[in-house]
Amino acid sequence: MSADVTSLQDAREDAQAGEARFEQLIADDSRVEPRDWMPEKYRKTLVRQVSQHAHSEIIGMQPEGNWITRAPSLKRKAILMAKVQDEAGHGLYLYSAAETLGTPRDEMYDQLYTGRAKYSSIFNYPARTWADIGAIGWLVDGAAICNQVPLCRASYGPYGRAMVRICKEESFHQRQGWEILHTLAHGTEAQKQMAQDAVDRFYGPALQMFGPPDADSPNSQQSMAWNIKRFSNDELRQRFVDMIVPQAEALGLTLPDPDLKWNEERGHYDFGELDWDEFFTVLKGGGPCSRQRMDHYRRARDEGAWVREAAAAYARREAAPQAGLVGA
C-alpha cells in the first residue's frame, strides 16, 4: 500500500470520527471549538452570519457617527463617541471570531466592499435628528440585545464568547438611548415632538431587524438544529415587543401601531402586520441611505489604503533581520 493511500484512508477515518464527535457536541449542547471537525455547511453558515454581524457593527457606526460633531451637550457628545467606539470594538471581536473559522479579515472586508456581503438593513435608514440617536439606542440596540442574548449560547465557542462581551456593552447602549428619549420626552414641546417622530420612524424597521416571518425564513431551521439560533425570528420579535411596550409607557411616548394591545390569553402583546415590501426593498439595496453607507465605507477604505500599505511595509522592515541595515 502506498503512503498516499494510507494517508487518504487515515483522513477518511479522522473525518468520520470528527463527524461523530461533532454530532455528539451538538446533541450535548456543548461548544464546538476552532480545531474541532465541523461540517462545511456549518462553517459556511457561521462565517456568513458572524461576518454579516461584524459588517453591521461597522456600517452601524455611520448613522450615529454623523451626530458626534453636533451632539447638543458635551456629556452627550462623550457618551455618543464612546458608544460608536464600542461598535467598532464589536466589529473587531466578531471579525476575530470569524477568522477562527479560516476566513481572513481582508477577505471579509472585501466582501463588504464589493457588496457581496450584507449587513443589517436598519443602518440604511437616516439618523436625521438628535432624537434618532435616542431611538437607535433604545430600539435598535434593544432589538440587537434580544437577538444577541441567546447567541451567547451559540454552539460555536468563539462566537458565543464574543457575544457575551458584546451583550454587556449593548445594555449600556440601550440605556443611553432610553435616557436621551426620556430627557426629550420631558423637555420642551419641540423636544417631545422630536422624540415621538423618531420613535414613529424607527419602530417598524426595528421590529424587522429580527428578519422575515418564520414562514419566509428558510435557513433558520438548520441554524436552530445546530444550536446557533435558539429562537425563531417571530419568537424574538414577540419578546422585543413585550419588552418595549412598558418602556414606551415609561417614556410617555406612543408606538405607531394601532393594533398593538395586550392579549390576555396569549400572555403577549398582539401587534400589526409589518411592511415587508419595504423590508425587502431595503434589503435589496433600496434603502434611503443604502448607497450613501456603501460609498462612505468604500471611500474610507480607499483613502486608507496607503496607510495600511505603509504599516505593512514597516512591519516587514521591523521583522527583517538586521532591520535598518538591509537596503530597501
Binding site: I58, M61, Q62, G65, I68, T69, R70, A71, P72, S73, L74, K75, R76, K77, A78, I79, M81, A82, K83, V84, Q85, D86, A88, G89, G91, L92, Y95, W130, R165, K168, E169, F172, R175, Q176, E179, I180, T183, L184, G187, T188, A190, Q191, H296, R299, A300, E303, G304, A305, W306, V307, R308, E309, A310, A311, A312, A313, Y314, R317
Partner: protein, 275 residues
C-alpha cells in the same frame, strides 16, 4: 447607573475617574485670570476632540477608528474639566461656554482648528500637540492651583498614550513606503507655521506665576523630542517661519467658524432645552 465616557469598554487610556461633574460639585471657584487660562487649555482640547471625532468611521483601519475615538474622548474629557472649572468664575456651565460663546470668544490655537486633512496630516498634528500637552501637564502637576493640578494628573496618563500613538505612526509612515513618507512630510510641512502659537506667553499667563505653565518654557523640551521622532522616522524637521498672528486672539483661523457652526447648531436652536 451613569454612562460616562469611561464606560466605553474599548477605551485604552483609562485615567483616574474624576469627572466634570465632580469638579462642578467640588465648589472650587477659579479666579478671573485662572478661568481665562483654563479656557486657553480647554478650548484647544475641545477643538481637537471635535476634529478627531470626525475620523470615527473613516479611519484607515478599524483599530484606528477605536484609537482616534479614544484620543478624542480623552481630549473631550480634558475640555470638560477645564471648561467646567473656568465656568466657575462666571457662574457658567461647560455647555454655556462650549455652545453659547461666539467665534471671537474662543481662545484655541489655529493648529487644532485645521481640517483633518489626510491621515498623515492628522498624525503630524497629533505628534506636535500630544508632545506639547505632555510637557504642559507634566509641569502643571506642580501648579499651586489644586484643581488644575488634579486635572493635569488625570490628563497626563492619557496624553502619554496619545504621544505613543502619534510617535508610532510617524515612524510607520516615515519609514513605510515612499508615498507614506511623502505624505507624512507634507503633513508636517503644512502645519509647521502654526506650531509656534502653542509657545507664546499670551495674557493672563504672565500674571499667574506658580499657577500656570508659561508656554514659552515648553518650546525647547517639546520641540527637541518632536525633532527626535521626526529624524528617527527619516523625515526632515521643517524650516518654516511662524505664521503671523499667533496670539490666540483676534486673528483666529477661518476654520473656527465652521467648527462652531456645526458643533453649536442644535444647542442654539433650542436655547432653553436640557439634553
Amino acid at each position: 447607573m451613569s454612562f460616562a465616557s469611561h464606560d466605553s469598554a474599548t477605551k485604552q487610556s483609562q485615567g483616574d475617574a474624576i469627572t466634570a461633574e465632580e469638579i462642578a460639585d467640588s465648589g472650587a471657584t477659579a479666579s478671573e485670570d485662572v478661568a481665562r487660562y483654563a479656557l486657553i487649555l480647554g478650548d484647544d482640547s475641545l477643538m481637537l476632540a471635535q476634529r478627531l471625532g470626525g475620523w470615527i468611521s473613516r479611519a484607515p483601519e478599524l483599530e484606528e477608528d477605536i484609537a482616534l475615538a479614544n484620543i478624542a474622548l480623552d481630549l473631550l474629557g480634558h475640555a470638560r474639566f477645564l471648561l467646567t472649572y473656568a465656568g466657575s468664575a462666571w457662574g457658567k456651565s461647560e455647555d454655556d461656554l462650549a455652545y453659547f460663546r461666539d467665534e471671537e470668544d474662543f481662545r484655541s490655537c489655529r493648529l487644532v482648528e485645521q481640517e483633518n486633512g489626510d491621515f498623515g496630516t492628522t498624525i503630524a498634528r497629533q505628534l506636535i500637540f500630544s508632545f506639547y500637552a505632555h510637557e504642559l501637564y507634566t509641569r502643571l502637576l506642580d501648579s499651586e492651583d489644586r484643581t488644575l493640578s488634579a486635572i493635569a494628573d488625570k490628563a497626563l496618563k492619557e496624553v502619554a498614550y496619545h504621544q505613543d500613538h502619534a510617535a508610532q505612526w510617524v515612524l510607520r509612515l516615515g519609514l513605510g513606503t515612499e508615498e507614506s513618507s511623502r505624505r507624512m512630510q507634507s503633513g508636517l510641512d503644512s502645519l509647521w507655521p502654526l506650531v509656534e502659537e502653542l509657545f507664546v506667553d499670551v495674557e493672563p499667563i504672565e500674571r499667574l506665576e506658580g499657577v500656570a505653565v508659561p508656554p514659552s518654557s515648553l518650546r525647547e523640551p517639546t520641540m527637541r523630542r518632536v525633532a527626535e521622532i521626526i529624524e528617527e522616522a527619516g523625515l526632515t524637521v521643517p524650516d518654516a517661519a511662524p505664521a503671523y498672528g499667533g496670539d490666540r486672539r483676534g486673528l483666529h483661523s477661518e476654520q473656527r467658524g465652521f467648527i462652531l457652526a456645526e458643533m453649536q447648531v442644535l444647542a442654539r436652536r433650542h436655547p432653553d432645552a436640557t439634553w
